[in-house]
């Protein structure tokens, strides 16, 4: 009766669950099947407590995975009840996972890749950086955050290639937006591909910087998510398309979370955002 994707539902043992900053945690899970199947840029949905309270699983991008050790690592920020529950889970306890999910970043022989991460958006880039460096590719990383404490895992990127850091308050790296060193770098360098993850205004700024130079970029999007399975259509994001509206809603969980930057509609046309987006004339 069960089919292949049922294997995406799996129990994982917590190896370690420790704070990185006041409200940010790093969790390591023994999850061999997931580690074996994972690709950089994919995500996993975690049931933070047994049963259906909280109702939904929580989606987290894969920060790192180690096929040999059968482990995955996630970084999460405590934002509500679900992540607070997760922060309270102890090593040795089990968590139900659903994954790997989503498309992940895709590569086609690029030799130089620039990574751009903002805040929690830094997390999926480490898996991509490690994969690319392992393939002998040149990796250049640009990370930005509110303060130095949130430049998560910055030291791990430093081993893999040039690293540029920025913070809003200047507590670490340059006091600037992450797009400043990126734009400066692009004056004299041309990566084959840019991968970006972070808050929407940052992604939008990255898209402007790279699109104007004709450099292909993939962005990993975030959206309030329901099932993670592509069924509920909750995590919709407008992507350019040949429709009367000029866009179509794609599912971040199933069609993404990674999209080409030039296809993402970062802001909807004004009239469709008011009154529930119902553009049908009433009859």
């Amino acid at each position: 009766m069960l089919r292949e994707d049922a294997g995406k539902i799996q129990m994982a043992t917590i190896v370690e669950n420790k704070p990185l900053a006041s409200d940010v945690y790093h969790i390591t899970l023994q999850a061999p099947r997931l580690a074996a199947a994972a690709k950089p840029g994919q995500f996993v949905m975690v049931r933070v407590a047994p049963g259906f309270a909280p109702t939904l699983r929580r989606p987290f991008s894969l920060h790192r995975f180690d096929r040999e050790a059968g482990r995955i690592e996630l970084i999460y920020q405590v934002l509500g009840k679900g992540t607070a529950l997760l922060a309270g889970r102890k090593p040795g306890e089990e968590l139900e996972l659903l994954g790997p999910l989503g498309n992940g970043f895709w590569f086609s022989g690029e030799s130089r890749v620039a990574l751009v991460g903002g805040g929690m958006g830094i997390t999926p880039l480490l898996a991509a950086a490690e994969h690319l460096a392992g393939e002998g590719k040149e990796v250049v990383t640009f990370l930005g955050a509110r303060t130095g404490d949130y430049l998560l895992a910055a030291e791990k990127f430093a081993h893999l290639g040039p690293l540029y850091l920025t913070t809003d308050d200047g507590s670490r790296g340059e006091k600037a937006l992450v797009t400043k060193p990126l734009a400066e770098y692009l004056e004299n360098n041309r990566p084959d591909l840019v991968l970006a993850c972070g808050p929407l205004p940052m992604l939008r700024a990255v898209a402007e910087v790279v699109n104007s130079r004709g450099i292909p970029a993939q962005v990993s999007l975030e959206q309030r998510m329901g099932c993670g399975l592509g069924v509920c259509l909750g995590c919709a994001f407008p992507i350019r398309a040949e429709t009367p509206e000029g866009y179509t809603y794609k599912r971040v969980c199933h069609d993404g979370p990674v999209f080409w930057a030039h296809e993402v509609l970062f802001a909807l046309p004004a009239e469709t955002t008011k009154q529930g987006g119902c553009s049908d004339e009433q009859s």
Binding site: L2, T55, C235, A236, T248
Partner: protein, 309 residues
Amino acid sequence: MNKVNLQVQLGPLKLKNPILTMSGTFGFGRELAKFYDLSVLGGIVVKPVTPKPRPGNPPPRIAETAGGILNAIGIQNPGVDAAIAEELPALQYLRRQGTLVVGSVSGHSFADYTFVTKKLSDSGLVDAIELNISCPNLKGGGLAFGTDPDTVKEVVSRVRAVCGVPLIVKLSPNVTDITKIALSAAAGGADILSLINTLTGMAIDARTRRPILKNITGGLSGPAVKPVALRMVYEVARKVDLPLIGIGGIISGTDAAEFLLAGASAVGVGTANLLDPLAAPRILAELEEYLVQQQVESVEEIVGGLIID
């Protein structure tokens, strides 16, 4: 384990078991068919369709609440023509295995409802049609049709006239007396009633002082609505002589049994599909276990079997 007869008669429809997956929580079956063999189900109700493609509402569309979720998807769908050309043909193998494929119809006007119903019915690709006159996320449509008894009778009778397959009418809980709406649907010619659709609700982020949903309000579903749904199924079963599909927060076999006891002949699994991709077959197995424990030979023995001392 003794075998229990799981077949149920739902008005004109024969189901191999009483578990249906509900519209909007199952897409067109493609995604969950990768998790399990859908032919174990009694039937599937596919995504509601409208005359033309609809992009759906701007995000955020979903919010978690205590024991439930709130959604305002806005009937995003490829339109009836694409559903007939691209989605429903891929589900015909289920019908050959005795699993019902039910189309779902949404719209903004009488003309929309009859147009889509006729197309789906004439396609020969569905065993039945569910009329969604209770979606809370369509402005000037959906719910507006489902909350006034006279309008309900009118839309159901117009749709009935063009519908060549059994007609299921999905009722809204967002009314003062659901039995009045149920009676109107029956008078209009419904063969089966399904209830309940989502309860209109709202979620606010106090930190940002903003509604979580872009649509501001949405439809509440999940375990939180089960007591309301059970009460409504119980009330309608006593007043209306039509078979019922009980829906609302079913996530276990005993939840399903409770709806059957309240008077439903079959049950709809909705939100649970989103929480657990294997929910529907698990609920079926748990229901079967319950029936064995209750020492009944057929699931139909417990339909409406609520004991009031």
